[in-house]
Amino acid sequence: MTTVTQEAGAPFGAAPPSGDAAIVTRGLTKRFKGGQVAVDALDLTVPRGSVFGFLGPNGSGKTTTIRMLLGLVAPTEGEYSVLGLPLGRALPKVGAVVEGPAFYPYLSGAANLMRFDAADPTARRATAARRIADALERVGLSAAAGKRYRNYSLGMRQRLAIAAALLGPRELLVLDEPTNGLDPQGTREVRALVKEIAADGTTVFVSSHLLAEVEQMCTHAAIMRTGRLVAEGTIASLNGGVVTRIRVETPDPAGAARVLTGLGLADVRAEGREVTAELGGHAPERINAALVGEDVAVRGLAVVRPSLEDVFVGLTGEGFDVDG
């Protein structure tokens, strides 16, 4: 854990206790001028090698947290550590997309990447051209490398931002809504790219409000609400918070409900031609056999696993209103 200073490369305190974490924050707080508390006493631990989904409604403080981790915004209180290194030495190993792409409109895609590569004191000029070509190749922009950024489409801009994050060997990728503005194909590709990068051992910290995406891509997730952390853990443990249910479609809901209750299932509910209940430890095939054995016609039987969306909505509220 290190106390925070503004200047990249400034001396930091002792090394953090948890050496296997890519990101650790303790009591991290940001109060903007004017009193807006964007991040409120955030305690976050991102394990090395994880793909960590950072979820939250609009305005919940995701981008502000990422800005603090990158040294762009000074925390009002609390401390954090990135890769267990002083920030100035950690950042060359971190690739980042923060709040969408931002490039020089009058430069080509490749020239833009050369510009940001020049800003990294650890990057070598001799290898720059190859690293840039590699990064453009990985995001599928090779054909547009010489085109001016001004003439890029929204999706191409987003891809270029990801390419900039991949310019060097990275230990941590911080991606703030990386699939914003991408077509379905591009979204799939980013997901695949993230998996590919994670397979290399790189930790990926990705903010999103596309829940299905986080569920497919991430091993861990944290959920923010109005600057506070409301849940954190592996995807499986988060999903565990919401119970798996069984759903029976039948013309005889009353009969089905009786059988399910008889089997000892909890929270049996009948709605129209559907009966649902908490599955608990019961085997679905045994339930089916019991229903058929009791002469209840079964038209459909499904196990409904909770999605992250259910968890998310449970924790942040149905309304999905902007936090403010």
Binding site: L72, L91, S142, A143
Partner: protein
Amino acid sequence: MSTGDGATPGTATLGRRTPGLVPVTETMRTSERRAPEPPPAAAPEPPEPAARAMGAFWRLLGSELGLTFRRPRNLVMLAVLAMVPVVVGVALRAFGSGDDDMSGIVQDVAGNSLMLTFVSFSFLVLLLMPVAVSVVAGDSIAGEAGGGTLRYLLAAPAGRTRLLAVKYLNAAVYAYAVTAVVALSALVTGLILFPAGDVTLLSGTTISLGDGLLRIAVAVAYVGAGMAALAAVAVALSTFTEVPIGAIAGTMVLVIVCQVLRAIPELAVITPYLLPTWFTNFDAVLRAPIDMGALGEGLLAFGAYIVLFGSIAWARFSGKDITS
């Protein structure tokens, strides 16, 4: 960014790519990429050699100069400044020739080609050269902040002090470029339109052409330093805003207000503290011998402005939240 799971290649705009960047090859490529880096040490990495850090600094400065001197706006300003001595020279030639009662300035220039440089400076240091310098220096930080590229430069990580130093040096180089372009254009125009030869100074002393050229070089060094001092003011203002035009206009307002204050005789006591007061001291090179006292006082004022506004810029920029 290929999915490698049979997904079709990228969209038409992005060109076709061969799918199949499977994780295995990617791992190899990453390890290859890492090969030229210093061997990963278990102990804390050795501190960067100073030579390497210096090289990286020059690389960033080179990138900055490349942006500045390739940007059409900045080149147009240099071209306009180069035109002024030509216009002045042609006008003096057209209206001055064959006239018996020539006024002092026309007489000076018509008498010797080198004088056009000093006449051009005395017009241009009042407003036009400060405008050009303010545009580049005022844009330096604010332009990056407004475009959002500042967050990516700092995440690269460019380092705040390092980036500010590069931005200021770049503005100072442009300030000298402005000065040199004016001098060169005036010199060439003068040599074409007016007789070359010995130069008669303000004091009536005559010096050789070579000595005259040397004095022009001294004047360029002095005026360039004055413009570099103005650049420090503009860079400092640039750290306070995300709107480049604000910093540029702010600097121009300061220059104009100073000119107005200088013109008020009752305020003579404050004129030594106003930066533009010292711009016109370059005419000390027209004394015989050169009035080193006047030049030295001016350079001291420029140095004081650079230190003062450099400190303001650093204090502001090193503690600023980058929220753009």
